[in-house]
Subunit: 201 residues, 4 copies
DNA sequence: ACCGACGGGACCTCCCGTTGTT
DNA sequence: AACAACGGGAGGTCCCGTCGGT
């Protein structure tokens, strides 16, 4: 029982990487057989179908992302610090990826868009979660007078995530962290401009 | 001779949509058989392999993009007008797509990243072309005193494209043009802030 | 494990005949599907490619040849008896073939010559093995004063095999054992002339 | 009309080489398209099917062989000289082939054996023609007292051709003219032994 | 809980041959 | 007489999933 759960987890981890790197269509169960060292029967014992496995693998990737975000935000109180921590995580995906293959949300969003509705729903939820996280951070920052109340929180969050995801795509495409770093610097400049007149408080 | 060229073009057009919507791995030659009404033999008479077809289909998509950009920029002189025209094109990809399946550069970048080097190279060139276009527009705007010379052109172009591509992904993922529109509004605000200074002179 | 090995062996046996009769190019996997009763998936589970299967099938054929030669030579001491036994095996390939399709070495040599380098290497080794066998037999015969020491062993072996293989081709082409039998009689006459003056010993 | 005949001849020449090198199954019409520079329609204008073309290509190869034999025998009267000339032609097939791919009769015999009855019949006729040629030469030699009347002409011819064809296969398989040369030397020794006796008369 | 063996079919590619056009 | 364009299908390969055994 315990052993089975371990195996299941091992499959999930390998599948998470495999699907994120090769895509759902581009990765085969046999690729996973090679990666895990298990036989096909062993895999299908734990997951009913390739699609089911892909869904859970996506969830697993998101749990890795969540953990990473939680760790990065831990101990940081100031909204600017927290936003910076998030941006650093995006930068890391280009320089020293803790998940191979780029942002799983974007990868899934792009591939699933017109093809795999269930995966698309997962990606929607995940992306929403990311937006909500930023929204919470910003709202807290406004509450604490760290950020200007003029800032439209959800508009900002949307822009913030869009720019970072786009920057990451550019960096991965060109194998050059400069793109995401440029985006980050731009956002940071913008954030500084928002934060001004703290002396007023 | 004439007929063959027409058929080839027809295949290319169908393939361009098919690959952009379903991805390279996700689209099969049989899908193309259905879409074109030709038989496989007929298709392979014009293209030596699926990969070759995909490369040309990508080029065809890019030529469509180029044409669209050229048309949108035609008659506009002011840098702000030109940047706005570009942003509108991104918005259109979400509201009324002239190419099904989203931005072909991003789609290809995401799928090809770790899998199809030749497609990746194509995507790199295309993305660079997009960046260069923005850079040219901005530089012209600075020359003509429409934009502040303080603006780092290539940093801006990078941010501009990243944010728009990211925004488009969000909009497509949620089937909601609001995301890309929010990004556009943000950029527009930023551009206005840049432009203010000339009144000093 | 047991079952799979049996199936693999069954495939190999059928493939060995099929390739030897129809040739590598002329035999299709579907032919093998018909011969084995398996589906293509079942075959490819045991062999990674047609070429790999052909290589192993050739090896299997050679193992059959080896066994047959060993059985034919068993219990025979005199060089002349042993050479005769070998010639009888060639004759049998024309009259009552234990391997359908003729000599696998020659078949492979002829087809692979300018087309399939790996098969050609296999055929080279096999042919060399055959020559070495004859050389050993003759050398032993010389050692034991059954054959004249004037005989150039390797030249003889070369001639012996060439004539027999050529004779077999003629017999198979004309569906007439007379050709190989004529060659055998010629060689036997030659051998008798070599063996002369045994009374000297 | 004239032009058509030239084209037909050109196809035949290329096909003759192609089939002899790659075999009937291993050579495709598209290979021939590449080799001739014609289009498929152009080829099928002259030959109704691949099989028909192969039959004529074989005939063309045989006509080349016939011409070569005729040229080699021209001016030679003595049976031994004539047989030597024939053997030299076999040697040339290994050292400096005037037909790529080896002896077309053997190649066809081996491939067609259990697969292409019409080609097999062609190969049978061709092989018989070769045997008859040797028989004629030897018979003339006996008539003229150059060779012993004890010689069984057709048995000898059979052995002669078998050994040479076998030797050629060995040489081609090992890319080493030594095999066919060894066979030739053996036969030459045998011929000398035959010829001695006339001094008795 | 895992493996090994297999089915049935889709994949891309290339085959041979035909047709319409020049 | 030659080509260009295409059909229809077979080629080898690999896919996903199932099932019996252990």
């Amino acid at each position: 029982m315990r052993k089975g759960e371990q195996t299941r987890q091992r499959i999930l981890e390998q599948a998470a990487d495999l699907f994120n790197v090769q895509g759902y269509s581009g990765a085969s169960i046999n690729d996973l057989v090679r990666a895990t060292g298990l036989e096909k029967g062993g895999i299908y014992n734990h997951f009913g179908s390739k699609e089911q496995l892909a869904l859970e693998a996506f969830d697993y990737n998101m749990s890795r992302v969540r953990d990473r975000f939680a760790a990065a935000l831990e101990g940081r109180r100031l909204a600017l610090d927290r936003l910076t921590a998030i941006m650093v995580l995006f930068e890391e995906m280009a320089t020293d990826p803790y998940i191979a293959g780029g942002c799983p949300i974007v990868n899934t969003a792009v591939e699933a868009d017109d093809m795999y509705p269930e995966l698309k729903v997962r990606a929607q939820s995940a992306m929403d979660e990311l937006l909500q996280l930023v929204i919470r951070v910003v709202n807290k920052g406004i509450e604490r007078d760290e950020l200007s109340p003029d800032l439209d929180t959800s508009t900002f969050a949307n822009f913030f995530i869009a720019a970072l995801e786009g920057g990451l795509i550019l960096s991965r495409l060109n194998d050059d962290p400069g793109h995401i770093q440029g985006v980050i610097q731009h956002i940071q400049g913008y954030l500084v401009s928002l934060q001004k007149e703290p002396s007023n408080g």
